[in-house]
C-alpha cells in the first residue's frame, strides 16, 4: 500500500493525551451543568416510558392466552398510544437539550482553538505546515461537530435504553437478566479488541487526511501558478494519490468495524437463545407466564439496536476523540506562554516611566531557528526614543530575524530584547512585514483588526495619510468593499498601503518595518516610501531596507553581516568611512544612475 506521509521534516502541532482531553471536555461542560441534568432527565423519562411498550404487548399476549374478549384489548392498545406520544415528546425535548449542550460546548471549544491557534509561535506553525492547522480548523472541527450532532444524543439514548432495559428484565424475573447478561462478556471482549486495533488506525487516518488537505490547499491556493507552469496534471495526481491513500485507510477501518459487527452478532445470538431457554424453563416450572416470557424475549430483541449503536458509537467516539485531542492539543496551550503567546514581546513594557529606558535595548542576542545554524551571533543595539534606524545588509545577514525578535515574534535563543514605551493603549511595538495578507471581508473589517473601536472617520484619516483614500473611495463600495481572497483584488502597492494604514491605526510607539516597500516594485515604492515616512512619524522606528534611499534618510544606519552588526552611524559618516556601507551605496547608486 502506498501510504502518503507528510514530509519528514514536519513536526505536527501538539495533540492532547486522553486524560487531558476528557478533563477539557468536562471543563467545557461545567458552565452548562443544569442544561446537562435537564437533558439527561428528559431522555431518561422518555426512555423509561418507552419501556412500558413490551410489558403492554406481553399483557395483550396474556389476555389472548386467557381467551378474554377482544374488547379487553382496547385498554392496553390505548395505553400503547399514550406511551408512544409521551416517548416521542420526551425524546424531542431531550434531544434538543442534548444538542444545545453539545453545540454550545463545541462553539466554545472551536473559539478557544482559534484563539490559541492565533497565539502559537510562528516557527512552530511553519514547521507543522499551516495545512495541519487548517485541517484542524475545518476537518477536525467538522468531525467533532458531527459527533456532537449525531453520536452524542444517540449514545445518550442508547445507554439509557440499555441500562433501563436490564432493569426491566430484572423486574420481570432476575433469571431473565442473568440469561441476558451471558452476551455481555462477548461484547466486552469485542469492544476491547476493537478499540485496541482502531486507535492506531485512526491515528494514521488523521495523518493521511492532513496530507490530503495540505495537497488540496497547495493545488487550490496555488492554482494560478499551477496553470502558468502547466503543472495541472502533476498537482491533480498529487491530490489523487493522497486522497486515494486516505480512502484506502478508511476502507481498512471499515473492514475492521465490520469484523467487529460479526462478533456482535454472535453475542446477540447467545443472549437471545439464553433468554428463550430461560423462558422455556420458567414457563415449564410455572414461575412465569407466556406473556412474561414474550415480554422478556421482546425486551432482549429490542436491545439489539441500542447495544449495536452504543458500540458503534465507540467508532464515532474514537474518531471524534482523536479529533478532539487534536483540537484540545492546541486549545489547551496556556495563554501566557512568553512572547510568542501574546504576539508582543513579553519584555515590552508600557508604563508611565517608559521614557527612562531607551526605546529598544538589544543585549548579546543570539538566535538560531535550528540548533547549530545560528542566524544571529551576538547583537547589541540601543535605539533611543523617536530615533529612526535603518538595518542594511545582504540577504541572509540576519536583518529580518533581528526585526522579528525586536517585534517579539520570536524569543531569542540567548540574550535579551527590551522594548519600553510610555503608557498608553494598544501594543508597544508593531511589525509590518513583506508578508501582506489582506483579510477576506470588508476592507473596514480588515483595518479594524488593528483598532477594533476605530470610527469610519479614523479609518479614512489613516488611509488618507498613506495616500490610499483616493483608490478606496473609487472601490465599488468604498470602505465596505469585500477584499482579500474571493473579493476585490488589490494590487501589491494597495495591500502595502493597507498594511501601513493598519500600523497608523494600531498607533504603537515603536514600529518595525521589514521590507515593507519592497513588494510593489519601484513605481509603487516611491508612493510607499512616502506613506511609510508618514506612518512612522513620531514613532521610534526600525526599518529593514533594501532600497538604500530609505536608509540614507534614517537617523542612523546599522549594517549587518553574517549575523553581526559590522557598522553603525549616519549616512555621510559611513560613506566617508569607506567600509561595507560605502561599497553597497556605490553598487546601488551605480545601478540607479549609470548605464552599461
Amino acid at each position: 500500500m502506498s501510504e502518503e506521509t507528510p514530509s519528514a521534516e514536519r513536526v505536527l502541532l501538539p495533540t492532547a493525551g486522553a486524560a487531558r482531553t476528557w478533563a477539557a471536555a468536562r471543563e467545557l461542560a461545567r458552565p452548562h451543568r443544569r442544561l446537562a441534568i435537564g437533558a439527561f432527565a428528559a431522555l431518561a423519562a422518555a426512555t423509561g416510558v418507552g419501556l412500558l411498550t413490551q410489558p403492554l404487548l406481553g399483557h395483550i399476549v396474556d389476555l389472548v392466552a386467557e381467551s378474554r374478549p377482544p374488547q379487553a384489548l382496547t385498554v392496553p392498545a390505548v395505553a400503547l398510544v399514550l406511551v408512544a406520544i409521551a416517548q416521542g415528546s420526551g425524546t424531542a425535548l431531550g434531544l434538543s437539550l442534548v444538542s444545545r449542550l453539545g453545540e454550545s460546548m463545541l462553539a466554545r471549544l472551536r473559539e478557544r482553538f482559534v484563539e490559541r491557534a492565533l497565539r502559537l509561535p510562528l516557527d512552530q506553525v511553519e514547521r507543522a505546515g499551516s495545512g495541519d492547522l487548517v485541517a484542524r480548523v475545518t476537518g477536525d472541527v467538522s468531525l467533532v461537530a458531527e459527533a456532537v450532532r449525531t453520536a452524542l444524543p444517540e449514545l445518550a439514548r442508547s445507554l439509557l435504553t440499555i441500562v433501563l432495559t436490564f432493569g426491566a428484565l430484572a423486574v420481570l424475573d432476575w433469571r431473565f437478566l442473568l440469561a441476558a447478561l451471558l452476551a455481555v462478556p462477548i461484547q466486552a471482549h469485542t469492544a476491547r479488541w476493537y478499540v485496541r486495533n482502531a486507535v492506531p488506525l485512526y491515528r494514521r487516518q488523521r495523518v493521511a487526511d492532513g496530507v490530503r488537505q495540505q495537497r488540496l490547499l497547495d493545488a487550490i491556493g496555488g492554482a494560478s501558478t499551477v496553470r502558468a507552469f502547466r503543472l495541472e496534471d502533476e498537482h491533480a495526481r498529487r491530490v489523487t494519490r493522497s486522497s486515494w491513500s486516505a480512502v484506502e485507510l478508511t476502507m481498512r477501518g471499515v473492514r475492521l468495524v465490520l469484523r467487529f459487527y460479526s462478533r456482535l452478532h454472535l453475542a446477540e445470538y447467545t443472549g437471545l437463545a439464553a433468554v428463550l431457554v430461560a423462558g422455556f424453563l420458567l414457563v415449564r416450572s410455572g414461575s412465569a407466564s407466556i406473556g412474561t416470557a414474550t415480554a422478556a424475549a421482546l425486551y432482549f430483541h429490542s436491545l439489539f439496536a441500542p447495544v449495536n449503536s452504543a458500540l458503534v458509537l465507540l467508532d464515532d467516539a474514537q474518531s471524534a476523540a482523536a479529533s478532539l485531542a487534536r483540537l484540545v492539543g492546541v486549545a489547551d496551550r496556556p495563554s501566557d506562554e512568553g512572547p510568542e503567546a501574546s504576539g508582543v514581546a513579553a519584555q515590552a513594557v508600557r508604563e508611565s516611566g517608559g521614557l527612562k529606558e531607551p526605546a529598544v535595548t538589544v543585549r548579546g542576542v543570539r538566535h538560531a531557528y535550528e540548533a547549530g545554524r545560528p542566524v544571529l551571533r551576538g547583537v547589541d543595539l540601543v535605539v533611543g526614543h523617536g530615533e529612526r534606524v535603518a538595518l542594511v545588509g545582504a540577504t541572509g545577514a540576519g536583518k529580518t530575524t533581528l526585526a522579528k525578535l525586536i517585534a517579539g515574534i520570536h524569543r531569542p535563543t540567548a540574550g535579551s530584547v527590551q522594548v519600553s514605551a510610555p503608557a498608553g493603549p494598544g501594543p508597544a511595538v508593531v511589525l509590518v512585514t513583506q508578508e501582506v495578507h489582506v483579510f477576506a471581508g470588508p476592507l473596514a473589517g480588515d483595518l479594524r483588526l488593528a483598532r477594533p473601536d476605530a470610527s469610519d472617520g479614523d479609518l479614512r484619516e489613516a488611509l488618507a495619510r498613506v495616500d490610499a483614500l483616493t483608490w478606496v473611495d473609487a472601490l465599488p463600495e468604498g470602505l465596505v468593499t469585500v477584499v482579500g481572497d474571493g473579493g476585490h483584488r488589490l494590487t501589491a502597492t494597495q495591500r502595502q498601503q493597507v498594511a501601513l494604514a493598519r500600523l497608523i491605526l494600531a498607533d504603537p510607539p515603536v514600529a518595525v518595518l521589514d521590507e515593507a516597500t519592497a513588494e510593489a516594485g519601484s513605481a509603487g515604492a516611491r508612493t510607499l516610501e512616502r506613506a511609510a515616512d508618514r506612518a512612522l512619524a513620531g514613532r521610534t522606528a526600525l526599518v529593514v531596507a533594501h532600497r538604500l534611499t530609505q536608509a540614507a534618510t534614517a537617523d542612523r544606519i546599522v549594517v549587518m553581516e553574517g549575523g553581526r552588526i559590522v557598522e553603525s552611524g549616519g549616512h555621510d559618516e559611513l560613506r566617508a568611512a569607506g567600509g561595507r556601507y560605502a561599497a553597497l551605496w556605490e553598487s546601488w547608486s551605480d545601478a540607479r544612475s549609470s548605464t552599461p
Binding site: R10, L57, R230, G279, F280, L449, T491, A506, S522, A591
Partner: protein, 572 residues
C-alpha cells in the same frame, strides 16, 4: 460566496448526484443484494422468536426448542455474512464516489481555462472538495441502505400477509403513510441543513483566512481583535445550528411517536384476530416482533432521508464549481510547431490598459516599465491568457491567443507572476517542476545559478534537497523569489514574461541576477516587467507604460536621459 443561497438542487446538481451513484453501480448493487439478505434475516428473527414461544415455550417441547434455536443459528450466520460484505460494498462505493468527485473538482479548479476559484475562498473550495464530496459519496451508501431496508420491510410484510391478510394490509398501508409523513417532516430540515452548512463553511473559511494571515496578525498584535471577530462568526453559526438541531429533534420525536402509534394499531388488530382464534398465539408474537423490527428499517429510512437531503445540498455546491464558466476558452487553431517567439499586441484594452500596441521581436529581451502597477498586472493577465482583452488582440507568431487553447499558450509563453507559489517538495523539485523532459543536462544548475538560487541551496541544511514547507513559507521573501525565478528559467519556454522578480533581493545580488537572465535567455524572447533599473539596464529595449498606453520606447540609457517621467518611475 456567490450564488449558493437556498434553492432547489437544479439539473447539474442532480446530474452530480446520479453520476456519483451510477459510477459505483456494481458496489451499490452488490451492497443492496447482500444488505437485503441481512435485512431478511433480521426480519426472520422475530418470526422465529414467535415460533419458539408458540411451539416450545407454550407447548413445553424441548425438541422444538432445540430445532428452533438451530434454525435461528443458521439465520444468524446468513444475516451476519450479508451485513459484513454488504456494508463493505456500500462504504467502498461511498468512498470511491467521493474520491472521484474530489479528483474532478481539483481538475476543474486547475483547468487551464480557470474561472472556478472566482468568488470562492480557497478554504471554502477545499471544504467543498473534502466535506461536500464526502456527503455526495455518502448518498451511494444511503441508496444501498435504503434498498436493503425496503427489502426487510417487504419480507416483514409478506410474512404478516401470510399470517393474516387484514394484519398484513395494516402494515402495508401504514408504513408508506409513515414514510410519507417522515418525508414531509424532513423537508424543512433540508433547508435548515443547507443554511447551517453555508454558515459552517463560511465560519471555517474565516478561521482558515485568519490562520493564513497569522503573520500579519502577529506583527500587529491584533490576535485579540481577530479572536473577537471569529467568536462573532462562531456565535452566528451556533444560532443557525441550534435552529437546525431543534427541528431535527422535533422530527425525531414525531417519527418516534407515530411509529409507536402504528405498533399499537398492529397490536390491537393482531390481538383481536388472535382473540377471535383466526391466528395462533405464536403468530401474534411474531406479528408484534415484526412490528417492532419494522422500526429498524423505518429508522434507516429516516437517516437515508437526512443523508439524501445533505447530499442534495452538497451536490448543488459541487455542481456549481464543476459548472463554473471558464475565464477563457480554447480556440480552434493549433499552436505553431516551432515557436519563433514574436509577440504582438494590437490595440489591447484591458483593465487600465488603453490601446496598447507593442511588438516584440523573436529573441528580444524587452523591458516594460509600468508607472501604474495595475497596468503591469493587466498586461500579464493578457500575455498569459488568464483573461482575454476587452478589445484588441495579443498575437504569438501572428496567431491571436484567443484562437489557441490556453494550455498551448502557456506551453509557449510562461508568465512568471510576482506572487508565484512554491509547492511541497524539495528546493530541487520546485525548480525542476516545469523543466522539459528533454532539457539538456545542466539546465537546472544553470537556472539556479542565473537566479542566484544556488546560493540559497548552499545555505540550507540539506542543500537543494531541503524540503520547502508550506508553499515556500519556510524561506525568506528574497529566497522565495529567487527559487521561483529559477523555476521560471528552468522551464525554458520560447517566451518568458517575468514580473518584478527581484523586489526582495539586495542590490548586489540583483545585479548578478540581471546578468544571469540576460545570459541564460540569449536568443529567446523575454519580457521583464519591472521598474528596477538594474534589470532594465540589461534589456535590449524598454517600453514605458504610462496611463495605460505606450509612453515611449528606447534603450534604458536613452530613456533615462530623455524622459523625466521614466526617470521618476525608475530612479527614485
Amino acid at each position: 460566496m456567490s450564488g449558493s443561497g437556498a434553492g432547489p438542487i437544479g439539473a447539474p446538481g442532480r446530474e452530480v448526484l446520479l453520476g456519483a451513484v451510477r459510477g459505483q453501480r456494481r458496489d451499490v448493487a452488490l451492497g443492496a443484494v447482500l444488505g437485503a439478505a441481512h435485512q431478511t434475516g433480521e426480519a426472520l428473527v422475530p418470526v422465529l422468536i414467535g415460533v419458539v414461544i408458540d411451539q416450545a415455550v407454550a407447548g413445553g417441547d424441548a425438541g422444538a426448542l432445540a430445532r428452533g434455536l438451530a434454525v435461528l443459528a443458521v439465520v444468524y450466520v446468513g444475516l451476519s455474512f450479508g451485513f459484513r460484505f454488504g456494508a463493505r460494498a456500500g462504504e467502498r462505493a461511498a468512498e470511491q464516489a467521493a474520491h472521484t468527485l474530489r479528483t474532478r473538482l481539483v481538475r476543474r479548479v486547475l483547468h487551464p481555462g480557470g474561472g472556478a476559484e472566482q468568488g470562492r475562498l480557497p478554504g471554502a473550495l477545499a471544504t467543498i472538495a473534502t466535506e461536500d464530496a464526502k456527503r455526495v459519496g455518502a448518498v451511494a451508501m444511503a441508496v444501498m441502505a435504503g434498498t436493503s431496508a425496503l427489502a426487510g420491510l417487504l419480507v416483514g410484510a409478506v410474512v404478516l400477509l401470510r399470517i393474516s391478510v387484514p394484519l398484513g394490509l395494516v402494515v402495508l398501508l401504514g408504513t408508506p403513510l409513515l414514510l410519507w409523513l417522515g418525508h414531509l417532516l424532513g423537508k424543512p430540515l433540508e433547508r435548515r441543513s443547507e443554511a447551517e452548512r453555508e454558515r459552517a463553511a463560511y465560519s471555517s473559511g474565516v478561521a482558515a483566512d485568519l490562520v493564513t494571515g497569522l503573520r500579519v496578525l502577529k506583527g500587529l498584535g491584533a490576535e485579540p481583535a481577530a479572536v473577537a471577530r471569529y467568536r462573532r462568526t462562531s456565535r452566528d453559526s451556533l444560532v443557525a445550528t441550534l435552529r437546525a438541531a431543534r427541528a431535527e429533534a422535533a422530527q425525531n420525536g414525531v417519527v418516534l411517536a407515530l411509529t409507536g402509534c402504528f405498533i399499537a394499531l398492529v397490536a390491537l388488530t393482531g390481538g383481536r384476530l388472535a382473540a377471535e382464534g383466526r391466528i395462533s398465539l405464536g403468530e401474534l408474537v411474531s406479528a408484534l416482533g415484526l412490528a417492532l423490527f419494522l422500526l429498524g428499517p423505518l429508522e434507516v429510512f429516516a437517516w437515508v432521508n437526512a443523508d439524501l437531503a445533505q447530499g442534495r445540498a452538497s451536490a448543488r455546491r459541487v455542481a456549481e464549481v464543476l459548472a463554473a464558466p471558464p475565464a477563457v476558452t480554447a480556440g480552434g487553431a493549433l499552436p505553431p510547431r516551432i515557436v519563433r517567439g514574436a509577440v504582438r499586441l494590437r490595440g489591447v484594452a484591458h483593465g487600465g490598459l488603453r490601446e496598447v500596441d507593442l511588438e516584440v521581436a523573436p529573441g528580444e529581451l524587452l523591458g516594460v516599465a509600468a508607472t501604474d502597477p495595475a497596468d503591469a498586472t493587466a498586461l500579464l493577465r493578457c500575455l498569459g491568457r488568464q483573461a482575454d482583452p476587452g478589445t484588441g488582440t495579443v498575437e504569438l507568431d501572428g496567431v491571436s491567443l484567443r484562437e489557441l487553447d490556453p494550455a498551448d499558450v502557456r506551453a509557449a509563453v510562461l508568465v512568471a507572476e510576482h506572487e508565484a507559489d512554491l509547492f511541497e517538495g524539495t528546493l530541487r523539485d520546485n525548480v525542476a517542476a516545469a523543466m522539459p523532459g528533454d532539457a539538456p543536462p545542466g539546465t537546472l544548475d544553470r537556472a539556479m545559478a542565473a537566479a542566484g538560487a544556488d546560493e540559497i541551496a548552499r545555505a540550507l541544511p540539506r542543500g537543494a534537497d531541503t524540503v520547502v514547507s508550506e508553499r515556500g513559507r519556510s524561506l525568506s521573501g528574497g529566497q522565495r523569489q529567487r527559487v521561483a525565478l529559477a523555476r521560471a528559467l528552468a522551464a525554458d519556454r520560447p517566451v518568458l514574461v517575468v514580473h518584478d522578480p527581484t523586489t526582495a533581493v539586495d542590490a548586489v545580488t540583483e545585479a548578478r541576477i540581471a546578468a544571469g537572465i540576460r545570459e541564460l535567455r540569449r536568443g529567446r524572447t523575454t519580457i521583464l516587467l519591472t521598474t528596477s533599473p538594474a534589470l532594465l539596464a540589461v534589456t535590449d529595449r524598454v517600453i514605458l507604460l504610462h496611463e495605460g498606453r505606450v509612453g515611449d520606447a528606447a534603450t534604458h540609457a536613452d530613456l533615462v536621459r530623455r524622459h523625466p517621467g521614466y526617470r521618476a518611475a525608475v530612479l527614485s
